[in-house]
Amino acid sequence: MKYLLVLCLLALANHAAFAHCPIENRIALRSEAVIRNDLRQLGMQPQTITMNKDKATVKATLDGNPVVLELDRIGDGVKFVSGNATVKSFLKNKLPRSLKIGRAALLRPITPMKTVPVAPAIRRPVLN
């Protein structure tokens, strides 16, 4: 009986400790291969990708225009670091929620607009 009591108390103590220190589920970091795939999905040609803990700095081109982005490797955030207005506008349409325009980018002179490739309509994926 005493043994049972001790076991129960230990279990309860562990439970109490667990309740106060819940285990958090962590999310993976995006790897370079996945970032390259993400960029290709956006129509970009990645050139160099520099990983830095939970951030990645990407140099890429979009229709020949250079662009520099800073990606959040855990979340979905994309920060526009530099690039011309065409690229910025394109990304703003493609990434309307996650794109953040950095201060440096905001201070850059706006280059004349050119025809921006039209992104495919975003709709619910069709499943057979």
């Binding site: 009986m1 005493k2 049972l4 009591l5 076991l7 129960c8 108390l9 279990a11 309860l12 439970h15 220190c21 819940p22 285990i23 958090e24 589920n25 962590r26 999310i27 993976a28 970091l29 995006r30 790897s31 291969a33 996945v34 795939n37 993400d38 999905q41 956006l42 490797r73 855990i74 979340g75 979905d76 955030g77 349409n93 493609k94 990434l95 309307p96 929620r97 996650s98 992104a119 975003i122 709709r123 619910r124 994926p125 069709v126 499943l127 057979n128």
Partner: protein
């Protein structure tokens, strides 16, 4: 002497404790995942980028192309988000910096970021019900994490991160690869998050960008679908169950559950653990799998083992079942579409992304091996019926005694004619060893249930019921374990269901039940008309489904 009342209280506490430990596990599971989504901002936050309606569309509204549709499609219609709500925006009495000061990963106070928002909602009249997963979204985003029963996300979180956390909430675990050197992050174990074709490896997955709804990952791998009970029984190929050990099967892409073909195959090979097997599946870049670079056949090993931490290379104390993608460890690191491992050979024969079909040839004699505690009978050299060791010994003795039990000089049945009192054993038609009639009867019985004791026949997957229970089988995908009597009752309900409908339909549409009957609701859209008692039974069975599994961790 311990006071009896105190002892009773302690025992009750222990029971409650035991129950609460299992509360996180919810499988097999079909039904509503209920979310309380709380939108919180800080007193110095800029105006949030989106209103409440936006998050309703993103997270809980079916048909919006968002998170609710993701689960509807990926679970093959097994789960809904019915009953979920979005509340807010609430303004916390804290600055962004003050909340950030709670710290990130590793900080004991990290959860307070979540708690503050829940407390604020409560103070403004909304208390999330106990059966809800509480998702807190802050503007601006200051952290991303999840835990059993909740998640904390940024205002720009996409479908992928939300789906990953909700996946944890319904007991899905991270996926792995078999690469022993792969470390995704310092907090990961080796091989963890290394299946880019599975949402439970998010963020490191082949994703696509859905614009306003952000980045989303692919569906789930076949093991996860099987484990949750989201696959029809007849869509899972149980290699070796039919006694064939060289088979070519047609797989249908996971994104095409409505088409013919197997969704996955389980290939057992371990005599000591029936939940240790390979799975094979076919994935094509379409639908939620649209970010996948190309079509591929994928083989996973489902195995119970310890994890080696990336941080210090130490082994975890406990082991657990996970799916490990078999892939190349160098170069392109693509999944291996053919393997020859552990006595199992799987070869890709053909694949065609346009038809969503792949053919694989599977060869292995391992499923013919006996489960633990059994051995081949060996009445003849090729006799692979599984029996106990004692029984094999007895058979061996019969073989020795056999010639002495023959009629000297033969008889009516030729030279092998047995003496009076003995008969041919007939383990196979040509088995003319003379044994007692009782022994022949035993052999006949052993032959009839031979498949049960082979690993091919005895492997029923992660939702195998514990002794005394069987699958309810209210439909092809009903993996809930019940008593055999209850299964018969459900079978009868299915038979009688149509006759219990209101002729011509009624207030609830064509499936409206006649007076005295209600929908069973054993799973979403289960409109079989039953008594209220049976509906209550079904609900209770669903709630205890996990506790009736033979191996709750498998």
């Amino acid at each position: 002497m311990i006071n009896h009342a105190v002892l009773k209280l302690l025992v009750l506490c222990c029971i409650l404790f035991a129950t609460s430990v299992e509360a996180g596990e919810q499988r097999p599971f079909r039904g509503a995942v209920k979310l309380s989504v709380l939108l919180c901002k800080y007193k110095d936050s800029p105006t949030p980028p989106n209103n409440k309606q936006f998050y309703e569309d993103l997270l809980i509204k079916i048909g919006s192309g968002g998170h609710a549709d993701y689960w509807d499609d990926v679970s093959h219609g097994s789960i809904t988000l019915n009953g979920s709500v979005v509340k807010g925006w609430y303004t916390l009495n804290k600055t962004i910096a003050e909340s950030q000061a709670y710290g990130g990963g590793g900080s004991a106070d990290r959860r307070k970021k979540h708690t503050d928002c829940v407390d604020k909602a409560k103070s403004e009249g909304y208390t999330p019900p106990a059966d809800h997963t509480v998702v807190v979204i802050t503007s601006p985003g200051i952290d991303t994490f999840g835990f059993d029963g909740g998640a904390f996300l940024a205002d720009d979180a996409g479908i992928g991160v939300i789906a990953h956390e909700v996946g944890h909430g319904i007991s899905l675990q991270h996926s792995f690869s078999d690469d022993p050197n792969h470390c995704n992050a310092i907090w990961a174990s080796k091989g963890e998050y290394d299946n880019q074709w599975d949402m439970m490896s998010y963020s490191d997955v082949w994703a696509q960008n859905l614009g306003n709804f952000g980045r989303t990952g692919p569906g789930l791998n076949a093991y996860h679908l099987d484990r949750m009970g989201w696959l029809d029984r007849n869509r899972i190929y149980r290699f070796g169950a039919n006694g064939n050990y060289d088979e070519t099967i047609t797989l249908t892409a996971l994104t095409r559950p409505g088409e013919r073909g197997y969704i996955t195959a389980r290939i057992p090979f371990d005599t000591t653990d029936l939940n240790h097997y390979y799975t094979v599946e076919y994935r094509v870049p379409e639908g939620w799998d649209g970010g996948i670079p190309g079509d591929t056949v994928m083989i996973n090993e489902v195995v119970n083992k310890k994890f080696r931490k990336c941080s210090d290379n130490s082994l975890s104390t406990n082991s657990a079942y996970r799916s490990y993608l078999i892939r190349n460890h160098t170069g392109n690191r693509l999944p291996k579409e053919s393997i020859n491992l552990n006595g199992v050979r799987i070869d890709l024969v053909s694949k065609d992304a346009s038809t969503g079909k792949a053919q694989v040839r599977i060869r292995s004699t391992r499923p013919e091996y006996c489960i633990q505690g059994y051995v081949w009978r060996e009445a003849q050299p090729d006799d692979k019926v599984c029996v106990t060791v004692a029984r094999r010994t007895a058979v061996k003795q019969e073989n020795t005694m056999g010639p002495s039990r023959r009629q000297p000089g033969g008889g009516a049945y030729g030279p092998d004619t047995c003496r009076q009192g003995y008969v041919w054993r007939e383990s196979k038609p040509n088995d003319h060893v003379c044994v007692t009639p009782a022994s022949r009867t035993k052999v006949k019985q052993e032959n009839a249930i031979a498949w049960e004791k082979r690993i091919g026949g005895a492997t029923y997957g992660p939702n195998t019921c514990k002794q005394g229970y069987v699958w309810r089988e209210a439909d092809k995908r009903d993996w809930v374990c019940v008593t055999p009597a209850r299964r018969n009752e459900v079978k009868e309900e299915n038979r009688l269901g149509p006759s219990r409908r209101q002729p011509g339909g009624g207030a609830w549409g064509p499936d409206t039940c006649r007076q005295g009957y209600v929908w069973r609701n054993a799973f979403p859209n289960d409109h079989t008309c039953v008594s209220t008692t049976s509906r209550t039974k079904a609900r209770n069975e669903n709630e205890v489904a996990h506790s009736r599994l033979a191996n709750k961790g498998a």
